[in-house]
Amino acid sequence: MRIFLSCLVCRIVTFILQKMGRGATTLPGEFALKVKRNILSDLSKNVKVIIVTGTNGKTTSCRIIEEGLKTAGKTYSINKSGANLITGITASFIMNSTVTGKNKYEYAIVECDENAFREVSRYIRADVVLVTNVFRDQLDRYGEVTHTLNAIKESVKNLPDAVVCLNADCSLTYSMSKEIPNKIVTYGVNKPFEENAKEPEVSDAKYCIFCKHEYKYSYHTYSHLGGFECENCGYKRVSPQFAVNAVLELNPHSSVVETDFCGEKRTAKINIGGTYNIYNAVGCAAALTALGLDSETVYTALENFNGAFGRMEQFDCGNHKINIILVKNPAGFSQTMSYIKSVKNDYTLILSLNDNAADGRDVSWIWDVDFNGIFKNENLKELYVTGKRCYDMAIRADYEGTNGREIKIIENEDYEKLVEIASAQSRDVYIVPTYTSMMTMRPVIAKKLGGKEFWE
């Protein structure tokens, strides 16, 4: 009876909010949870559940998994639009269940915030958990990077029957393998993306998580990921079961890699640019295989999936394209900069910095970003900064050095003006916003250039 009531309340609130023309991402779930706190345990009973968590790459990974299930002809539900706290996840389960609380689909893909995972894992059951990576995120909300890691580890312990896919190159993520009872599948990249990739300026994990001695690296891929080894206690990277052996091509909107999935070697195309997305791809290959899909399906999914909302999302302006790449933390921002720098054509760059709760109220993290000389890049033709803290961004660019290139400022979060500028360009535009800035500007862009609203 309570299940029915909880679901009903959720549906009514959603209905009302939609009538009011508002996106409903948290409120309906909140009401449902008030009626039945453990509603998720009922709703996750008759469905195969895959949970995706970790600092970066959750949404893109969910897109790949979605494509995999679609390719395999399976039916599935997914919590969209970053509604990845317990409220959003609950609401998503309810909206995809019958009135009696039985899931209408075979699979449920759940994107779960690292810190919300603790509570979600108390109620939900899961078949597979994919952990993308652990980076230093918005510390004013979450505390230390080890705090995030512990949240994930404790949550996984609540789901002992789930197969857990761990990033073998992330010393933080892989460390939980020593403490969890679960069956573990590892994934990773066996070689640096570039010859002699250097040690990062700012590392989130320089010292051994177990004994605090400095790691030695045989190679670096990006940030603290790579071939780590602690010579003191012996904790080191293991050779992953799902691996990328070599990167054959890096294109703006795709990569070609040589894979080795459990001994089966072949060439695979990944339908998204950016070296960091190679990790998302190989992580999803592990997760999809753990879900029981065959390798043909996995490769097809990697080749065909489309980027997620705000993550390398493209809007076509006829003679040029507008790309939006969301950034949330130094690691992701640095990777985005190195990706854009690798683009061969001229471009306009727009950086947008907000400091609302979901962005991180402290904007100092932009000083930990490795801009890698992008502001002096030949192909960069125009540089704009915007957002609530546009001037902090402006100083950051100025102090990094722009070779005299003007830093143009779009004040007052005027996204109408931003869209005007972006669509009037004759070259490709890269907009790099933080979370709330993306959420506010995207509807403005979509309205002008076409595209879905985020709650659709």
Binding site: T146, V202, R361, D368, R389, Y391, I395
Partner: protein, 241 residues
Amino acid sequence: MIIRIAHLYPDMLNLYGDRGNIIALSHRLKARGIEIQTEKITMGKSFNSDDYDILFIGGGQDFEQDVLLDDLTKGKDAEIKKAVQSGSVILAICGGYQMLGKYYKTYDGKMLPYIGAIDFYTEGKEERMIGNYAYKTKEGIEIVGFENHSGRTYLGNGVEPLGKIISGFGNNGEDGTEGVRFKNTFGTYSHGPVLPKNPEFTDLLISKALENKYGKSDLAPLDNTLESKAKAQVMKLYIKK
């Protein structure tokens, strides 16, 4: 002219973009045609504070705290104390600032002995003090920054704070003080990082370092348009005067 900066524990005390302070110092020194040399003083590396004109210590995570305390007692503590007493320019942020005091007592009673270069101590409470804040130095420089600390710092008798709180918590949320100032040592809770948005403060540090080394400082004014606007943006959004 050349200014040499020692960056203490850049690989451990590197929270919240504090390295932006080094970038800001370099930027404003270079703009005046002054050469700059930055040395990273990492764990296990010994250093002589006489070799440097400015010492910078950032803030860090608790995870690495005990490794660091161990390393400090192997000689770095004496060098830092010497630098403080001799009037070298020191900028210490958050955890680095706390380290200059006598001790840190965690909220569950654990005592961490610090180097005691200046007479103050810090006690932890569970509730963190987080937010944009502003304070004013005795020269009248208004500094904006972002604080995020659970430690409450209490200055000893007669010890001068770096500034008076305009808005926010500061040292302890009680006495209206922020940071510490002793000779040319400046301790503050301010992330942000503090120097890029507060060029007057950056120039104060540079002037003191030049005076120490060359007996005089004659800083050419720079265009501070972006810096002033960034500061005004924070003031307008968050600082209640």
